[in-house]
Amino acid sequence: MTHPAAVAPTVLRPRWVVGGVVAVAVALVLGLTVGAVSLPVSGVVGELLSHLPFVGSKSSLSAPQAAIVTELRLPRVVLGLLVGALLASAGACYQGVFRNPLVDPYLLGAAAGAGLAVTVVIISVTAATGSAGLPLAAFAGALGAVGLSWFVGRAGGRRSAASLLLAGIAITSFLTAIQTYLQQRNSDTIRQVYSWILGRLTTADWGDVLLVLPYFLITAAVLLAHRRVLDVLAVGDEEAAALGVPVARTRLVLVATASMATAAAVSVSGLIAFVGIIIPHAVRLATGSSYRIIIPLSILYGAAFLALADLVARTALAPAEIPIGVVTAFVGAPFFILVLRTSPEGRA
């Protein structure tokens, strides 16, 4: 028998973080080297280092090769990393707030809201004006739908995890119904709507990266700060309150933050499924159930996973691109079934 004093509380182990950083680095380098034009790893790494201050290394790539790295591939890989981190951390946060490991970032209607808003914009805007308004529409639609769920999600004068969850399901069905109706009435735009719904990083440029970067920084900071609070929330509203956590206010902050992260991801990438569930789940299976670990590792592994999924999306059937949502679902669904079948009862 071990002496009890030798038992330490659950903490984030350095090797898990190192593993996550390595995964992100691998995803980054692979994403930059693999493609229609294959580039040498050493050249890509040299090119990246040459852009860092105080390093002063010289890139061995030709000017066109360097342009492929910095103007075409880098923004797309970075956007993939950011979207993956946003979706995985938002999913982890929702799972904590709702004490349900099966909920995803689209739980409160973010996907349905964004889908409806994007459909409306695609239908009402002519081809000439293009799709410049789509990110804004998706962002507003996602947040609007979550706001609606929050607003109606009261039962018996209280806003409980269960009542919010049910409100999210109702709002999602309602908005999806409207979207389906609009789509049927305007069948000429179905293809464009579907291409958006299936998710894409195709058009990524530095503008998109700069668009979501602030949201990533803010939401990651807020969620990381709340990682122990999420562990306290795991004992339920009334007990968490008895332990000193102002539950209603904390839940509002966390839901708002995770929804902001989801809306930011959706606005630049469309609807990418499963990342928000499988990444936090995989982390949970590997390390345990503490959000002090799940939140930071979901950010790292979510980022790496989505960048790699995008690599598969653009290379597997090159020169054609598979929608990235198809790739994540194709990998995610079997993984999810595996999780269900191997988990102890009630855990998944």
Binding site: P4, T10, D231, E239, P246, S289, S290, G346, R347
Partner: protein
Amino acid sequence: MAVLAAAGIVADLGGARILDGVDLTVASGGWVSIVGPNGAGKTTLVRVLAGALAPREGRVLVDGDDVRGLRTRERARRIALVPQTPVIPVGVSTLDYVLLGRTPHMPFFGSESSDDVGRAHGMLERLGVGALAGRSVESCSGGERQRVFLARALAQEAPILLLDEPTTALDIGHQQEVLDLVDGLRAEQGIAVVSTMHDLTLAGLYADELVLLGGGRIVERGPAEEVLTEETLRRHFGARVSVLPGAHGPVVVPHRAPGKAG
């Protein structure tokens, strides 16, 4: 001096009146046990005392401050609660679970210090479950769990301890163990204890004052000898019992229905 004082508590749940004018006070180092039939409002009263439920009328004072006026964190420093069936997070270790009790003493976004960890270990040792620190709470037996729940509440180091049915899931030996532990701590640290109990004999054995709730009102109160009478228990519980004088208080003995007994 009364550290916890409830006056004129009226509480509704789902439109039904559950408590209808309840007064209750506990002094430092005192133990008040709330007894009463199912549905009498015992758990609701505990929730009102804990500040988890706002009473429709009346107020609960903690050292003179209205419990509903206290910030959540300050309330958690003054009142610790063990609910009837605590939620056990999946996979949580016993040590991590007890450390949750240190939450009101940490910065909101902080994590536990080595001092907090030491106190949590100390509390587990104290309750005789120190060896379980690394085990998951789910893997503990009913008796072990009850002590782990108690350890978390005691880790809050609050001067008031509320226990909702702390012994219902336990066998008679573990019931005594848990109640002895609470009794020792209240004597030693002057903790004020309010508990709800189903076992009337045990309730009378440990509490200084029994409060008998019936239909949302206090129908009897006082030392066990005065509350636990055959007539009272027949009237409020519809129970056929004999109350025998025991060495440490009255002993409640149930009877079978007349005509069925051999």
